[in-house]
Amino acid sequence: MNLSTSEKERYTRQLIINGWGEDGQLALKRSTVFIAGAGGLGSPVAVYLAAAGVGTLRICDNGALELSNLNRQILYRDTDIGKNKVMAAEQTIKSVNPEVTVEPVTDMIKHDTAASIVGQPDIIVDCLDNFEARHVLNDYAVQASIPFVHAGIHGLSGQVAFFYPPETPCLNCVFPGTVPQQVSPVAGVTPAIIGSIEAAETLKWLLGIGVTLKNKLLIWDGETMDFQKIEIKKNPHCSVCSRQ
């Protein structure tokens, strides 16, 4: 597989990044990323991974678009209201980069369907808005040995981590249990920042450049603009990853 002349032109400015090059670009083209959630976080993640030239984006969301989503979910327009999110997302992603293959998935991820929905991507990006679904996804990622970029946002704050047991803890080691779901405040800029960081982590992993947030939790406070990176450890008794 080679890059076409038009691909070389499209990716000129990133091909010159140290350690990227045509080989890196081809590795991205061969990659499949599973994006769980096509909302506030999923929007910048999908847009920036598509623009970078990831070959296949499998994007999953069972929701339909509402007007109150549009202060942050930049994959969509007013004309998409009422439509299934991922079907509308496919159009936007294809216009960002026609070279990308989009696989929209409209099912809800459950324990018995995770394997068929997620399949065997190179990496999973968590753009979900609740811990119940995150744990289902984490269980599958651990079992299938797929790296898992986690992010969560609340108000003007957010967090990111890179899970890949046995090298790192899993989501359940660090955040066991769930928190009750509620309508929480969110502006577009928070998922924009956190989602762009998730996209950067994903690209670094796929290209093998830089240092990912393995064994670290990045915590960001948008009100004060404080960033902290804290060490996170495996739970030796974790019900999800300790048996692996």
Partner: protein
């Protein structure tokens, strides 16, 4: 100006922030922002200010999208190649939020036309890719006491600060002169991180919530995923801002 039911619905999730509400949303809606550059940084900045409900966005770029821009300039797509970037930006932004008004300015910013191009806005956001032009808008921002959010990106790195004369150093104090123009490496996610932080700084300033990076330079290294905040100091002999300080001729 009152909010329509549809605006209340559109902005609902941000209006339920502690201390945001209709009052802060009204402030945002009545604000005008000048965005210098509709490229890698200008894309997330203008997109996220538009969806947040900034009603008056003036966006300026004299260039046209090229295929090699599309790995990061998410305002544009393959169908916009060959039309002006500011015009392309306006089309995208007005689709993302039909409630706002976007003015596209297609001129190249020079020392002579900077006043006519920027005019009276509440805030300037520097999404440029060269320091020559940045210094023209910095001089204007200092002269008119208009706050400016500066950012620059390179590869997987970026920097950002908020300049507000006379409280903070100006851009010349921090980055005197201009490095030679070169074709530098850049990816979309870098512009995404730094541009989104610029948009957040803009919303915090315009809405009067949280604290800003005043006199502090945020430096981000995406390869190592390290963030640093470095204090910045005024150059007492700065050719741009020192004479205003000396004469106490603040606008």
């Amino acid at each position: 100006m009152t909010m329509t039911d549809s605006e209340k619905e559109r902005y609902h999730r941000q209006m339920i922030f502690d201390g945001w509400g209709e009052e802060v949303q009204q402030k945002l809606m009545n604000s005008s922002v000048f965005i210098a550059g509709a490229g890698g940084l200008g894309s997330p900045v203008s997109i996220y200010l538009a969806v947040a409900g900034i009603r008056h966005i003036r966006i300026c770029d004299y260039g046209m999208p090229e295929l090699s821009n599309l790995n990061r300039q998410i305002l544009h797509d393959d169908t916009r190649i060959g039309i002006n970037k500011a015009v392309s930006a306006r089309d995208t932004l007005e689709k993302l939020n039909p409630e706002i008004k976007v003015t596209a300015i297609t001129d190249k910013i020079t020392e002579e036309n900077v006043e006519e191009i920027i005019r009276d806005v509440d805030l300037i956001v520097d999404c440029l890719d060269n320091f020559d032009t940045r210094h023209y808008i910095n001089a204007y921002a200092v002269q008119k006491c208009i706050p400016m959010i500066h950012a620059g990106v390179y590869g997987m790195r970026g920097q950002l600060t908020m300049i507000k004369f006379p409280e903070t150093p100006c851009l010349w104090c921090i980055n005197p002169g201009s490095p030679p123009d070169t074709m530098f490496p850049i990816i979309g996610a870098t512009a995404g991180v730094i541009g989104s932080i610029q948009a957040l700084e803009a919303l915090k300033y315009l809405g009067g919530i949280g604290s800003n990076l005043l006199g502090k330079l945020l430096v981000w290294d995406g390869a190592a995923m390290e963030f640093q905040v470095l204090p910045q100091h005024r150059d007492q002999n700065c050719p741009v801002c020192s004479r205003y300080h000396q004469s106490h001729e603040f606008c």
